[in-house]
Every structure is written in C-alpha cells, then in structure tokens.
Symmetry: C2
Subunit: 383 residues, 2 copies
C-alpha cells in the first residue's frame, strides 16, 4: 500500500477573530494546491475532517461549502470522528485513491472554535464523549483525562513533573514552528503553578481552543513523480474504535484503540516501531502523550514518563515526539489536527522543518485520537 502526498498547506493556528471557517479552509486548501503545483481542476475529490461546525458556527455540510467556495463541483465529503476527524478524512482519502476511483484528492481539516463562548466550547467538545452516560453527569474532557492521569500515577508512579515535561517540551518545539498558537518557552514550575483545571491537570497541561485549517494533496503513487521530485508516501493506515464511555473500558491507562490502530498500521507498512524516526501524537492533555507513547510501543506500558526524563522524545532524542509543538503548543482546532500532524511529518521527511528538523528522518508516524479514545487512527509515512 502506497499513496503519495505531493503538497501541503497550513493556516496559522490561532484565535482568528477576522476569519471564518470557509476562509481558513480555502487558505489551507489553496496553499496545498499551489504547493503541489496543480490546479483546482486536477482534483478528483475532496475530504474534509471537521468535528462540530454544526454547533460551533451552525454550519453542517462543510465539505460542499469548501468545494463550492473553491469553484469546484467534485465529490466533497465531510468525515467526522470527534478530534480524530482529520486523521479519518486522510484515511478515507487514501481509500478513495486505492479504490482506483480517484487519482488526486485534497484532504483537509478545519475548525472554527472561537465564535462561541468558551464554556459552550467545553460543552460542544463533550459531544465527542458519551452524552447520556458521561456529559449529563457533569464530566468534561479535562476531568476525563484527569482520571486517566490519576490512575496512571497510581499504577505506574508517573509524576506530576513528568506530565509537565510534555508541555515544556512541546512549547519548546512550538517556538520553532511559525504556525504555532503558542511560541513561548515554559518551565515545569509554570505548568504546575498554572490555574487548576481538573486535578492533577492545570491550564498548561491542556491543549487550547484554536481556529485553523490544514490540507494535503494525495496522489496515486504511480503519478507522484509527475508533480514532485520529493513525494512522501503513506505506507500504512490503521484505525480502531472503543466504547465512547471511559467507564466501559478494560483499562483507564491504555487506549486499546491506539494499540490496535498502531498494530494495523505497522503491519501494513511492513515495519516495526523501531523503524519510526519521529511521531506526531495526540497530546490533547499532557497525560495523553505519555499514554500514547506507551500504546504506540515507544516504551513499555507505564514507562511513558521516563521517556521524558531521559529526553528520548525531544528533538535530538531517539524518537522525537511532537516536533511541531503538538496540540499543546500549535493549538488544537479539532478537525484540523490530524491533517496538521501529517503536514508536519511531510515537512520533516522532506528535510523542510527548519529549526525543528529531525536529522535523517526516514519514517514518520501520526496518531490522532477522538474523544477519550473511542477512535484512534495511525498513519505511517516514508520518503
């Protein structure tokens, strides 16, 4: 299995008070089209990852909206799997090319989150969890992940400082990424002393509310060299599901969907975790990155905190994680995140990641999660 990426496009991830969803999506899409050196009319189809435009801005049907705004009449499909919407859209785009039905496909992700009150953003995001068994009882996403964090601390001795180190590392990386919402260094002390959100998670353990869009141009592998000398290939895709409600799961400290999606993707790519040069993982909260690095096999279960102590996941470490700055520092416009992750890996594998470049990056991985782990999607990329 092999599908090429021949172009990428990103807006700044930020609070965009002067731009609406369609403008953000068009900006990212147009940049990707230009980067690929194609024209809009070369596209056979469009997939858009978006979690909740219906509630954020009253607008469903956003794929047709974007396609229409670009002056195209191609098949346009919105794909949704909560915060994994971008990753799922990428996977559907890949399938549509493998099916033989399409040659060149735009896959985008976009979310406009700041047009409603912040407390209603929290309510809207709880649409990713189980309404009837979680939301109605007052749970929020920070509190769901706080329970995961507490249990992880109890079972494996993970420390408050180790969690804080995720935020410190990702802010450091974000300082080198021009699209990042936050480009400021922070310290462990800053994280621990920031406003309490859901014990033990403080404000700086949480990814922010963000507007933004990202896009990639997929191309049938056999045609890629026609458009670029340096295509990046998707060589593995995996996806799995779990119950929406956290209490229905076997474990609080392992996301089984991540484990299964990763196994599927590694197998399809014909690689093992040892081959992975770098990864963008779903750090919606600091604890989520620790759990993800374990579930993806970067270390054994419970050792995620140690990876941070040892610098393994820093740029320059054995397996850099979230070189972009992750959801924490780049920001998390939910539907866009999965595509932003892919764009970061493409830049890294092409050697175009500037100051945050990972040396000799050959194989990259993206890991995108919906809700508290009911959806996980993993992609493997190679030069």
């Amino acid at each position: 299995m092999k599908v090429a990426i021949i172009g990428i496009g990103l807006t700044k991830f930020d609070e965009h008070w002067d731009k609406n969803l369609r403008e953000l999506a068009i900006e990212a899409g147009t940049k990707a089209i230009e980067d690929a050196g194609i024209r809009g009319r070369d596209l056979n189809a469009m997939y858009i990852g978006n979690m909740s435009a219906g509630r954020f801005i009253g607008q469903e049907h956003v794929a047709a909206l974007v396609s229409g705004e670009l002056g195209l009449s191609i098949p346009a499909v919105r794909v949704e799997g909560a915060c994994a919407s971008g990753g799922l859209a990428l996977r559907e785009g890949v399938f549509s090319i493998l099916s033989g039905q399409n040659d060149i496909v735009l896959v985008g992700g976009a979310e406009k989150m700041t047009d409603i009150m912040p407390d209603y953003v929290t309510t809207t995001l709880m649409g990713a969890a189980d309404q009837e068994w979680e939301a109605y009882y007052g749970l929020t996403f920070p509190s769901l992940y706080a329970m995961i964090a507490r249990r992880h601390m109890f079972e494996f001795g993970t420390t408050r400082e180790q969690m804080a180190k995720v935020a410190v590392k990702n802010h450091h990386n974000g300082c080198m990424n021009p699209i990042a919402q936050f480009q400021n260094e922070i310290t462990i002390k800053d994280v621990i002393n920031s406003t309490m959100v859901a014990d033990p998670l403080t404000l700086l353990d949480c990814s922010p509310i963000t507007d933004g869009a990202a896009a990639v141009i997929l191309c049938k592998a056999e045609l890629a060299k026609k458009y670029t000398d340096t295509p990046v290939y998707i060589i593995g895709t995996g996806q799995a599901s779990d119950t929406l409600a956290l209490h229905d799961r076997r474990s609080l400290t392992t996301l089984d969907a991540t484990v299964k999606a990763a196994q599927m993707a590694y197998k399809q790519a014909g690689i093992t975790v040892k081959d992975v040069s770098l990864a963008e993982v779903h750090d919606c909260f600091t604890i989520a990155e620790i759990v993800a690095t374990e579930d993806l096999g970067f270390c054994k279960k419970g050792d995620g905190g140690k990876l941070l102590d040892e610098g393994v996941t820093e740029i320059g470490g054995k397996i850099p994680v979230n070189t972009s700055g992750g959801l924490k520092a780049v920001g998390h416009p939910v539907g866009a995140t999965g595509i932003k992750q892919a764009a970061e890996i493409v830049m890294q594998l092409k050697g175009e990641a500037g100051k945050r470049q990972v040396k000799d990056a050959k194989i990259g991985l993206t890991h995108n999660v919906g809700g508290s782990g009911a959806t996980a999607v993993v992609h493997i990329f190679s030069r």
Copy 2:
C-alpha cells in the same frame, strides 16, 4: 466496479419517543447483520451517515458510539453531507471495499430528530444550507424549495396539481410499506388545502420530521455467494457538488450536482437511463421529485410534471419512482434516508417488496441530495 449487498436492516420510520439514537442504530444494524447471516465479528469496518446528531441530541462521534454499543472495535467513521449523508456513507463503504482494505462492511444511517423542539429542527436543518448567506437572512428549507417550485412553474408551466400528485403517489406507495411513517392515502385536494408552509408548498408537499435508522451489509463481490444466493450489486456510484447557496447557481430549476452524479454513475455502470427499472429519488419536497426525474434523465427538462400526469412514475408505470413511499411518506430521518433508499432497491431487485413490488425489476437507482442540491449522490444497483 461491483460491490455486493448481502443484507439490509430497517427500523420503523416514525416519531420514536421511547428510543434514542443508539437504540435505533443498533436495531437497524443488528437486523442487517442477521439478514446477511454473518456475525458482528465478521465486519471489517462501519460507516454511519448522520447529519446533525451534534445539534439534535448533543452527540458527535456517533460511528464509534454505535460500534462500541455493538461490542466491536472496528474502524467506525461518520460521514456527513447534510441530507445526503446516507448516500455518501454508502459510497465510502464501497470505496473501502474496492480499495482492498475491507471485505465486509456495515453501512448505516441514523437520525433522531424529535428530541428537540420542531422550530429548532428547522434551524438545525438550515445547517445544510449556507449559514452566512442564506440562514441569517431568514431562509428555511421549505422557502428555498418554494423558490425552486415557483421558478419551475414559471419556466415550464409546471402546475400546483402536478406537485400535489407527487405526494399523492408517494403516500399511496407508503400505504404498502410497513416501515412508513405515513400509511394513509391522500388526494390532490388534501395536499392543496393543507396548511401553507412556503407558497406554493403546503404541509403535504413537505417531508416530515422523523426518527429512524437503516443499514446495509456490503461485501466484496467475489465473496458474496458465500453468504447469499441472491446478492444485489452496486455497479455504479457518482457524486458531485455545487455551491451551498442557491443564489450562486447557474439555474434554480436544474440541480447540476444531480446531473453530474448521474452521468458518473451511469457511465461507471455501463448503462443508460433507459435501462433503469425503478428509482428512489430525493423528494424532500414534491417539487424536488419533479426536478430529480428531469435531472436524472427520465424525461427532458421541464417535463417532470407530465410524468405524473401520465402515470409513468407509478408502480406499474414505465419507471416507478419512490416505490417505498419516498421521503414524503416513509419519513426523512435525514442521515438514514440514503440507506433506506438502497434497502428499498435491494428488496425490489430481490422480488421481496410485497404489495409494492415492481415486476421484473433489474436495475435500480438511488438519488440522495444534500441541502438544496450542494451535494448529490447516485448509485446504480443490479441483480
């Protein structure tokens, strides 16, 4: 191109005050699994068409919700294209099989619309139209289609009675369909004298607010005979887009997206419109069926009204349209409609449609529209 359907499942389409979205989806999914004679664990993936659960019931991430409730951990993807969500989910399911990644896939559609106030349903449905250029100015879907109707009357002399005949025919067909929300005969007079909604459309020109779910089991064509002696095959799929806003279009009386999607599907199936034995088309309003029969090529542009005068689209006519009762009589749980259409065609092609059976049905067509025509998807089925 050939993908088999080996099982179908439908809930009653109705106001289900005692069932929530997950129960409806599980009921349809379980029936389809049983109908196919498979077990849940035989499924490789699941696609769910749903338009607006986020606004109707506060719940996004519905594909993982359904998969989790079924005790499965397979890839689960929600697909959205407004009222065409079901049709788009079917198409993505087809692609996933053609891609070689999946052998057996459940494709469902579900919507729970009655949990919120009816006036908010109208607001929510306007999420399918352009928020910034249509909804904010007070347009509703009945008024959008009323403008199409007025223009069609002006350009082609289509009469009020011809529109009413769509509702009369579809109610008649619905009387023979046990899942239909309305199983009562109505007259042209009833339609014309019912409450005015948006001139010239009255209450009985409009599809109702409905809860319901539908599912089909897709199977790689080569494997289908292992599960059933009478598979039905999808032999063509087409999709196209247009601007969300009606005023940006070339014409009010032709849905270009339907024309393009149909051409794509006919070509892929290797058939012409003359080969079509029967069709389920998107009659969200009576005028929509008239426009659809023209755009699909069942008659020339402007003659859609005459098809009704001449009985061409009745059961027993040359090309029966909406034998199920259509959106008008069966009801229109928006995300479920596209899959219900496919299930009706499967029943007809297998000769299992009871009193509403079309004699010697060989090739069936489904036509599912999002919004006022920004998305259209057409599938062709054969025995």
